[in-house]
């Protein structure tokens, strides 16, 4: 293939993958990128086995573009399809508060602009990352175990009571304040135990091991919000499309920089996710303004997903972080020096395509939300999740999802931090890194 054909072929692949990623991200709520990538990987494997005439490097372009556009566009359902009930509104994230004030589109744009800003900072920081990350990894390699533990400590100890507590001081008041905190600790413990069970005695058959955590994630983070929307039936007010955004460049920079920092840390450290990265960055930079918060969350999420994939292309680093990177290495072994340009170009092109598509996707989703209402939207999303989880993992997967949904409902019912459900991966991996995993598994009777 000559250079020009290769160039246009890669660009076409990136644009198609970006459009696919953006559409799926915008219209399919509560589904993790790994589930979508798993379907993509299966399709690619089948196509390659059937002798499809595309080079294996095209997988880099497809995955990088798909991941980038999905991570930007999935903000739309995250804000517009996650209507909280009236009572929980003051404890939920600003995105949902914007939605219930009729400013959902504004929240989406703030988050997407944060993602774009984060990507800009990520790509401009790559020359430094290439030199700094290999020695940094060499220093931290023996220490990742305790780093995961202190992330857990921070997550559990940094949540404060969020209510207002009039009345006399004493145990009764303390119990009111601890209602949410206790629920948070319980969520972490139960999700951690679920993670241990899935790691040591998963009910899923071995051939579905690559989807082992998928039903748990869908149950912990996807289903509870949808169930809540079905039961509480919150009325989504009319949404306004903003003509301009009240976002001074300084606030955009602050949010994007804070989020990029958190996302980069999350991408580099094992097990830590974008949500935790955003939490760490928010604390490190004392983020208070809701606009800055939304921008930072967008930046953190995008930098986490894309940054983890780009780590594959840092010469001398040789680490695989994040599900997309694992998936890609299963299909093709990237050559860091030779393939990095392809990956970076795909990311940049996908971001541009997604930005161009965003107004249309946002308008369509808003129309859908308005026409269907929160209850029917939740019902449709729930049905889709059931089909996907059932189709990919069968009855055992549906059982795991049901158990995880019960755990995932706790933070919603008791107004605590949903991030605590990340115990499902944090606890088992922290225990294993400290060589305590098998001991605890034996206590739990898992072997």
């Amino acid at each position: 293939m000559d250079t020009l054909t290769c160039f246009f072929g890669s660009a076409a692949t990136a644009i198609i993958a970006a459009m696919l990623g953006a559409c799926l991200g915008a219209f399919v709520p509560s589904l993790h990128i790994l589930n979508l990538l798993a379907v993509l990987a299966l399709a690619a494997q089948s196509a390659l086995a059937a002798g499809a005439p595309f080079p294996p490097e095209a997988m880099i372009v497809a995955v990088a573009a798909f991941l980038t556009s999905w991570s930007l566009a999935n903000t739309i359902p995250a804000v517009l399809a996650a209507a909280p009930d009236e009572g929980a509104l003051f404890t939920v994230l600003p995105g949902q508060r914007y939605l219930m004030e009729g400013r959902g589109a504004e929240a989406v744009w703030l988050t997407v602009l944060g993602g774009v800003g984060g990507l800009g900072l990520l790509l401009s920081g790559l020359p430094f990352a290439v030199r700094l990350l290999p020695p940094l990894h060499a220093i931290l390699r023996p220490h990742y175990g305790w780093i995961i533990w202190v992330v857990i400590v921070f997550m559990l100890l940094s949540e404060w009571p969020k209510g207002n507590y009039p009345g006399p001081a004493g145990w009764r008041k303390w119990m009111r304040g601890w209602r949410g905190l206790g629920a948070g600790l319980l969520t972490f413990l139960l999700s951690g135990m679920l993670g241990m069970i899935l790691m040591y005695r998963s009910p899923l058959p071995p051939e579905q091991a690559f989807q082992n955590l998928m039903p748990a994630f869908v149950g912990l983070f996807g289903v509870p919000g949808l169930l809540f929307a079905l039961i509480a039936h919150p009325q989504i007010p009319a949404q306004h499309q903003p003509r301009t955004l009240a976002l001074p460049p300084r606030l955009w920079f602050r949010g994007a920089a804070a989020g990029a920092l958190g996302g980069a840390v999350a991408a580099f450290l094992p097990v830590v996710t974008a949500g935790v990265g955003g939490l760490l960055a928010g604390h490190a930079t004392a983020t208070r303004d809701e606009r800055v918060f939304l921008v930072s969350q967008g930046a953190s999420k995008t930098v986490y997903y894309v940054g983890a994939l780009l780590l594959l292309f840092v010469p001398g680093l040789e680490i695989v972080r994040g599900g997309a990177a694992w998936m890609l290495t299963g299909l093709y072994a990237p050559q860091p020096a030779a393939d990095s340009g392809l990956a970076i170009g795909s990311v940049a092109l996908a971001a541009a395509v997604t930005l161009l598509l965003m107004p249309v996707l946002l308008r369509l989703t808003l129309a859908l939300v308005t026409r269907l209402g929160s209850r029917r939207l939740a019902l449709a999303a729930l049905a889709l999740l059931l089909v996907l989880v059932g189709g990919l993992t069968g009855l055992p997967g549906l059982f795991v999802m049901a158990v995880a949904s019960g755990i995932g409902l706790i933070p919603l019912l008791y107004d605590s931090r949903r991030l605590n459900a990340l115990g499902v991966i944090l606890l088992p991996l922290a225990l294993n890194r400290s060589a305590a995993g098998p001991v605890v598994a034996r206590w739990l009777g898992l072997f």
């Binding site: 009236e86 009572g87 509104l89 003051f90 600003p94 508060r97 219930m100 004030e101 020695p135 940094l136 060499a138 220093i139 931290l140 023996p142 220490h143 175990g145 305790w146 533990w149 202190v150 400590v153 921070f154 100890l157 940094s158 404060w160 009571p161 969020k162 209510g163 207002n164 507590y165 009039p166 009345g167 006399p168 001081a169 004493g170 008041k173 303390w174 304040g177 601890w178 905190l181 001074p248 460049p249 300084r250 920079f253 602050r254 920089a257 604390h283 490190a284 930079t285 004392a286 983020t287 208070r288 303004d289 809701e290 918060f293 922290a430 890194r433 400290s434 060589a435």
Partner: protein, 310 residues
């Protein structure tokens, strides 16, 4: 992060961590967070108040707020024991709170209570039409029995979540002092308590554990001392908070970022030099300059530039 940075200075803790034992670093993380955890998860719920303001969110009455403050001050003047006043927040709805302020005008010995209107949980002002009609933006002034010497900002804002507590007490000079959040940094942010906790851990665990706990706890306390509120550093041997260095406010972004960044660099430096078989440790000064001063100055410059452009 300051607690972890302090922990990383102990060779035994770093070597244990490199060998797969995370307990010293977990201890450092817990002790680094414990002072605030003790205050916000425990002390605040058990701190008794003499009076409290419970505002009708739909009919906010600044006169009632000013009266309550004046009454608390009058009680504090009349009694020898301190008087504590809790200013509760007033929730209007799912995402709306009735905000108000209490301003202590020391020269004129008066208090000015102002209902500043409804705000969202993000403290952003809500249009008046978003909530039921009520007396908004109203102000009420009351003469106080004494001029109040506040330990920080003379204006107290009350808007979302749990409201602040104010403690009025007689100062040595005979004036009346006002302590903001008397339950915060009252006993938990004590260097003496950090040392005692360390001593207990030396007795029941190891020297390293005791030193790590003491250092991590103290690092948090000393970092907080750079701010406005200060802390009761000598509890149980002292009874009052001493003022902080007032170099920054707790909500300021840059000081927080600089502290976290510097802590990260110190951790990295310590891990590199104290972990066996680690790559050669970078020298501290170049690490702080190239890894800290240069990138933070670059980010600060961009921030300033964008601020000028509005």
């Amino acid at each position: 992060m300051t607690g972890l940075a302090a922990t990383s200075f102990f060779p035994a803790a770093v070597q244990a961590a490199a060998d797969g034992n995370p307990l010293y670093f977990i201890l450092g993380a817990v002790c680094g967070l414990l002072p605030d955890t003790l205050d916000f998860r425990f002390a605040r719920f058990f701190h008794r108040h003499t009076l409290e303001v419970i505002l009708d969110p739909n009919q906010p009455d600044p006169a009632m707020i000013a009266d309550a403050v004046a009454q608390a001050v009058a009680l504090a003047v009349a009694r020898t024991a301190p008087v504590t006043l809790k200013l509760n927040t007033a929730r209007l709805g799912a995402n709306a709170w009735q905000a108000y302020t209490v301003f202590f005008d020391r020269p004129q010995s008066r208090v000015v209570a102002t209902c500043t209107g409804p705000v969202t949980t993000g403290s952003a002002p809500l249009p008046d039409s978003a909530v039921p009609a009520a007396a908004r933006h109203a102000t009420s002034t009351r003469k106080l029995a004494a001029g109040i010497v506040t330990d920080g900002d003379p204006e107290v804002k009350v808007d979302i979540f749990d409201g602040p507590t104010l403690r009025f007490y007689k100062r040595a000079s005979g004036e009346l002092g006002m302590e903001f959040l008397p339950w915060h940094r009252a006993w938990s942010h004590s260097l003496a308590l950090a040392a005692m906790t360390g001593g207990v851990l030396v007795a029941i665990w190891s020297w390293t554990a005791g030193l790590v706990a003491c250092a991590a706890w103290s690092a948090h306390v000393l970092a907080d001392q750079l701010g406005h509120m200060g802390a009761n550093l000598g509890y149980p041997f002292t009874r009052h908070r001493i003022n902080g260095a007032r170099l920054h406010h707790a909500g300021d972004g840059w000081p927080n970022l600089i502290t976290v960044w510097a802590s990260g660099l110190l951790i990295l430096w310590n891990l590199a030099r104290l972990t066996p078989a680690s790559p050669p440790s970078p020298a501290l000064l170049p690490l702080l300059v190239w890894g800290g001063v240069v990138p933070l100055f670059a980010a600060w410059s961009v921030d300033r530039l964008l601020a000028r452009r509005g």
